[in-house]
């Protein structure tokens, strides 16, 4: 590899930001100043293979610059590339992939105003207009319309990020123009976010298995976590051994909660039995599905439970390293998880000898940078490895060739925390909860036209109506979106659908990741569908044709028919159906395959354009 670097230089601050992550450059070959070139530099070169093997630090490096400066200049990118022996063209391709990075100068403060489904229904467009009017040119704040910020229970929401050392963030939700402007202009003095427990209307209910500790324990205290039953599941795991853990998880009937509903035990077994080493565990905390915020609440309210669950999963699959891929828009969850991991490490619950059992395991956090597609498991691997977050073709499957080409088990946050009750109450007791083929408790993210939006924990099998009643559904319900933007709409007369994988499938819809977004008849349905189409157009990685162009054609057709019905809309609906069918059949990954679902269900079940 004969890399060519331009002659743009980093500023001192950019260099400092990168050096703080990678350490100072040791020779002029990897970016130290030429006049510092030492005689020894002519005989050896740091960098080369050793630097290339750190390519996975590209994304953290881009974050380091973006956090400190607010954008990524040519000089900074080239310097980072020298340090990691990454071709500048590739790094540029990576930097331009993520929504939170900019390769053009912009103000140090960026205010992300959520315009996605729940926020749109709660008046996001007025909020945007108001904020933009107040923070015009010269205000030093860039206002960016953002996809779902995962704060749907407090919609509308805004997130301010101010570059510097350290980077400052402030969340405003529910946001008013005043509060959002305040968060952007003085992030340090913005009022603190309400406790995560506020997102759990059932908080304190002793029957809760997954959310039982949210609002009860101090999320910063490991002792408090242990006092509330923490680390009993890990002790049990060590008592029964890795094969025992996998057996329990299999017998419990746990399936993935991210949307695909794959049996977790089978995934772990397949990973554990791979001859290639090392094995990896990846926790997918890149929760970006519009309407989803459960992983954020678990990480903010009960961070140690995820640390413990990841340790158990790592132990079961034979991994000594776990990556927690946490979405970039969750500053508080990031802080809580960083703290929890640090405490666990300091107390011997992570590290070379977990609980004195001779098992080595550690967790590294990787921050996403604004890309829904990185929630797709193989795109997530590419993102961690320092490549563009484009999904890979399957097969080979991750259990065989996953992160860094090694056997990898990837699970989302909710799936992992289910392992704790499985080990504490035992597989039979766990399997007795829910229905025959959907076992255990399930988290639902309820938002929109309800009195008490938030995360609800119910055993599988409760009906949609029961859940909505719990959340206080308002009158004049028009539609419920199940499963988020990739899910489907159901009608208000279908509230007896049982919330199980098989029940929703039978009803011709999907449970997805557990999103329940209620819309009353004040929400203009065509605008909502347009927002969903926009979302997929923005979030398509662009790798395959059906998704890259299909999502654009879908949005165009919806724009054309936004105010039309019946025969006027018929031709475009036919077009939508034909394109949608090809996207579902021929796209590489789930994003393109599901991008048409919600619109299709709105046409077929709600009669959106009749």
């Amino acid at each position: 590899m004969d890399l060519h670097f331009g002659d743009s230089k980093p500023t001192d601050e950019e260099r400092a930001a990168i050096d703080a992550l990678l350490g100072p450059a040791e020779s002029s070959w990897e970016g130290a100043a030429r006049d510092e070139m030492r005689a020894s530099d002519l005989r050896w070169a740091r960098g080369g293979r050793a630097a290339r093997e750190r390519r996975d630090l590209l994304l953290p490096g881009l974050h380091a610059v973006n956090d400190r400066i607010g954008w990524i200049s040519e000089g900074a990118l080239d310097y980072l590339c020298r340090r990691l022996t990454v071709p500048p063209a590739e790094a540029y391709g990576v930097a331009t992939f993520y929504a939170m990075f900019s390769v053009k100068p912009r103000p140090a403060t960026v205010l992300h105003v959520c315009t996605d489904l729940a926020c749109a229904a709660a008046g996001a467009s007025e909020l945007c207009a108001g904020v933009e009017a107040r923070l015009g040119l010269g205000s030093g704040v860039a206002v960016e319309r953002s996809p779902c910020l995962g704060l749907c229970e407090r919609a509308p929401a805004a997130l301010a990020v101010r570059a510097g050392d350290p980077v400052r963030t402030a969340v405003s939700a529910p946001a008013t123009v005043e509060r959002a402007v305040l968060a952007a202009s003085a992030p340090d003095s913005a009022p603190e976010e309400p406790s995560a427990a506020l997102a759990v209307p059932q908080a304190g209910d002793p029957a809760l298995m997954l959310l039982g500790r949210v609002g009860v324990v101090d999320p910063a205290s490991l002792d408090d976590y242990r006092a509330h039953g923490g680390y009993t599941a890990l002790r049990q795991a060590f008592a029964i051994g890795p094969a025992g853990v996998i057996r329990e998880v299999t017998d419990a009937g746990l399936v993935g909660r991210g949307g695909a509903a794959f049996p977790t035990g089978r995934k772990w077994q397949a990973t554990a039995s791979q001859p290639g080493h090392p094995h990896y565990l990846v926790c997918n905390a890149d929760e970006s599905e519009p309407g989803t915020f459960k992983d954020r609440v678990v990480m903010e309210g009960d961070p140690y439970s995820l640390v413990e669950a990841m340790t158990i999963a790592g132990y079961a699959v034979g991994a000594h390293k776990g990556y927690l891929y946490l979405r970039g828009e969750y500053p508080r969850a990031l802080a809580r998880m960083e703290h929890a991991i640090g405490q666990a490490r300091a107390r011997g619950l992570l590290g070379d000898d977990v609980l004195g059992q001779g098992y080595a395991f550690d967790i590294e956090i990787r921050r996403g940078a604004g890309a829904y597609i990185c929630g797709e498991e193989t795109a997530l691997f590419n993102s961690i490895e320092g490549y563009r977050g484009e999904p890979r073709s399957k097969p080979p499957f991750p259990v065989e060739k996953g992160l860094f080409g090694r056997p990898t088990a990837e699970n989302n946050v909710e799936t992992l925390v289910n392992v704790l009750p499985i080990l504490t109450i035992g597989a039979p007791a766990y399997a007795a909860i829910g229905t025959g083929s959907s076992t255990g408790p399930k988290l639902f993210c309820v938002s929109g036209s309800v009195e008490r939006p938030g995360i609800y924990e119910l055993p599988f099998g409760a009906t949609l109506g029961e859940l909505l009643e719990l959340a206080g559904v308002r009158d004049r319900l028009r539609a419920v979106l199940l499963g988020g933007a990739a899910g489907g709409f159901v009608r208000p007369d279908e509230l007896d659908i049982p919330l199980t994988f098989e029940g929703t499938r039978e009803a011709g819809t999907t449970l997805g990741s557990g999103v329940v977004l209620a819309f009353d008849d004040t929400v203009p349905l065509p605008r909502l569908l347009l927002r969903i189409a926009e979302f997929f157009r923005d979030e398509s990685c662009g790798q395959c044709v059906p998704c890259r162009v299909g999502t654009v054609r879908q949005e165009e057709a919806l724009h054309r028919i936004v105010g039309r019905t019946g025969a006027d809309a018929a031709a475009d609906i036919t077009l939508l159906r034909e394109v949608g069918r090809a996207m579902k059949d021929a796209s590489i990954c789930g994003l393109g395959q599901t991008a048409w679902n919600a619109v299709e269900s709105a046409i077929d079940r709600l009669g959106a354009y009749e």
Partner: protein, 286 residues
């Protein structure tokens, strides 16, 4: 004549292709198997010298038991697999993909695509006159080649050829995301400011003419490009001792471009700047 290395003999596995039993060597793709069974499947992004990226999705086929269609170019055939290449479902996807592509980029210099559009009854116009297109001016920033991204289908072949699969120069990458994704060099700079070494191997693999010789681009603009009047002569490059094969494309007694045979075991179609572009002295008649 070029020699194709045979490699280690491979076991044959048996599967069903459109109802007929066929045998294919282990590791062969469905597309390989189709071609050796005498049936071809349209494909735009597949190339004979690069690992398939399966980004264009024109070659999708139905595999029994698979939830979605699978790309024939990259899915390896497995024993007992039941593959159907010409079902209504597969044809529908191909038709739509061709329509989506033809409505968004200029496929006028893509070989075979006109025939497929006809065969699949694709009507790219039906997305209306306002359908988003790339509509980009060709980038002419050097004397050797032209980047006309209005013709680019983002097949990634130039990226792979420039990167770890052949040239190891890593001068180009996909940047941006979604419909706005483009092929570009670092910082979106002109080619002359990039890491490009002008080997032209990206032109060699480009399936649509988005990357072309400046000579070809200029002649097309002038209306003098006439492939039917061209002869192709394969010879040996005289610049160094490696012995790369050059195929000289000659029109009206002038070399108009240089390619290299892909089945050549030394070059596999790759050349360096001298072999690819250093032909002016041959036709210097002063």
């Amino acid at each position: 004549m070029t020699v194709t290395p045979l490699g280690i003999p491979r076991r044959l596995l048996e599967f069903t292709l459109d109802g007929e039993p066929v045998r294919a060597p282990e590791g062969a793709t469905i597309l390989d198997a189709c071609r050796s069974a005498g049936k071809d499947i349209p494909t735009l992004c597949q190339g004979d010298t690069l690992a398939p990226k399966n980004a264009c999705r024109v070659c999708v086929v139905e595999v029994e038991g698979a939830r979605t269609l699978v790309p024939a170019c990259s899915r390896t055939a497995e024993a007992g697999m039941q593959v159907r290449t010409d079902t209504e479902r597969a044809r529908h996807s191909r038709k739509i993909v061709l329509e989506l592509l033809a409505s968004s980029v200029d496929l006028s210099t893509t070989p075979e695509v006109a025939g497929w559009l006809k065969e699949y009854e694709a009507k790219p116009d039906r997305f209306g006159p306002d359908a988003a297109r790339l509509n980009e001016e060709p980038k002419v920033d050097n004397d050797l080649y032209v980047r006309d991204y209005d013709k680019c289908i983002l097949c990634y072949k130039c990226v792979d050829a420039c990167g770890d699969q052949w040239q190891n120069t890593f001068a180009i990458s996909v940047v941006g995301r979604g419909f706005d994704a483009r092929i570009a060099v670092e910082h979106d700079a002109p080619l002359t400011d990039s890491a490009c070494v002008y080997c032209g191997n990206c032109i060699e693999v480009c399936p649509t003419g988005a990357l072309s010789f400046k000579s070809e681009f200029d002649m097309r603009a002038a209306g003098t490009w006439d492939e039917s009047a061209q002869t192709e002569t394969t010879t040996v490059c005289a610049y160094c001792g490696v012995g790369c094969n050059l195929t000289l494309h000659v029109q009206d007694n002038e070399i108009v471009k240089v390619t290299s045979p892909h089945d050549n075991p030394v070059t596999h179609g790759n050349l360096c700047i001298k072999g690819r572009f250093g032909y002016q002295h041959v036709q210097n008649r002063d």
